[in-house]
């Protein structure tokens, strides 16, 4: 490579107008990043509703009596661990190693299912004791916010199954690794939303 080519290979040496179209991977990642930010804005609206309504219990149970902290800590641990195994899985996808992709993504899936079943057991317990979404404005806001997060996790788990099937049938084609990459972003973003949920909903209720 000549000195001039080397200089051109440095991205900052080429003016923006001369760089040409961005690679598909960059465009796809950026588009998905914009989607994630708009998804986070949806959650922001639900957080705002919860913050406004969290005191309106209409004589019903309050958050302090309903929420169990150790339960939430286990849920948080599951989601955090699954975020890291998902990161290891995307590294395995990048290096094109099929077995370690299956291994890490299977662990991610199991941790995600554990999180979901813990959340559903909490929901069903609340419904049993008459603290369903129709009890008070506080509980409506709670079920909407936490339920939307749970729905996102469910969609993520379905997506993960589809991605593993695509690796099995199509192999590591560029489009498959692109989709896997977007899945990783989605999963990490859900973890960021969960930080807000456990801080505002669960820890905030005990203050």
């Amino acid at each position: 490579m000549s000195a001039a080519e080397q200089a051109l290979a440095r991205t900052e040496a080429v003016p923006l107008s001369l760089r040409g179209p961005a690679a598909t991977r960059v465009v796809a990642g950026y588009g998905f990043w914009l989607f994630l930010l708009s998804d986070i804005i949806i959650f922001a609206a639900l957080f705002a509703a919860y913050a406004v309504l969290s005191g309106e219990t209409a004589g019903g149970p309050t958050g302090a009596t309903l929420f169990d902290k150790t339960h939430v800590l286990i849920e948080t641990a599951c989601l955090l661990a699954s975020s890291v195994t998902c990161g290891f899985g995307s590294l395995a996808v990048q290096s094109g190693s099929r077995n370690s992709t299956y291994f890490w993504m299977a662990i991610t899936f199991i941790l995600g299912v554990t999180f979901l079943s813990l959340e559903l057991s909490e929901f069903s317990h609340m419904l049993e004791i008459g603290a369903g979404p129709s009890r008070s404005a506080f509980l409506s806001a709670f079920f909407t916010l936490v339920g939307t997060h749970g729905l996102h996790v469910t969609i993520g788990l379905c997506w993960l199954i589809v991605m593993l099937l695509q690796v099995a049938t199509l192999g590591f084609q560029p489009m498959v690794s692109r989709r896997f990459f977007c899945f990783g972003l989605f999963w990490h973003a859900l973890d960021i939303v969960w930080i807000g949920v456990f801080t505002i909903v669960y820890l905030g209720a005990h203050l």
Partner: protein
């Protein structure tokens, strides 16, 4: 990893500037565990001045979100990440407007509302 640097920047989530990305996930995990345990501890402790606890929880949560962005989503201030950072900044701006705007407006409305017993009296 330098071959992954694209002419128009990199997509979010691609870590091109540090070696050993597996290490970066583990560092992120370490920080996230510490911050999570700290916020669970802060919510049930008597050591911290009670009215200050919500602020402490907020700081810990924002710090952990930052840790996740840097170590898991690999957002950095590198020149090829300008687009990602700009989008993130706008997203944070809209989230702030939504959450704090709603809380301030509803608190004002609540403050200016007629007490409930007077309202019921007037409806009779």
């Amino acid at each position: 990893m330098s071959t992954e640097i694209e002419a128009q920047g990199v997509s979010p989530g691609v870590n091109v500037h540090t070696d050993g990305t597996r290490r970066s996930y583990l560092i992120g995990l370490g920080y996230a565990v510490i911050l999570t345990l700290a916020s669970f501890w802060a919510s049930s402790t008597d050591v911290v001045y009670p009215p200050g606890v919500p602020i402490l929880l907020g700081v810990l949560a924002i710090a952990q979100m930052g840790i996740h962005l840097v170590f898991f989503l690999h957002i950095s201030s590198a020149p090829d990440q300008t687009n990602n950072i700009l989008a993130l900044a706008f997203g944070i701006f809209v989230v702030g407007l939504l959450v704090f705007g709603s809380m301030i407006i509803i608190a004002h409305l609540n403050h200016n509302m007629m007490p409930m017993d007077r309202l019921i009296q007037m409806q009779r």
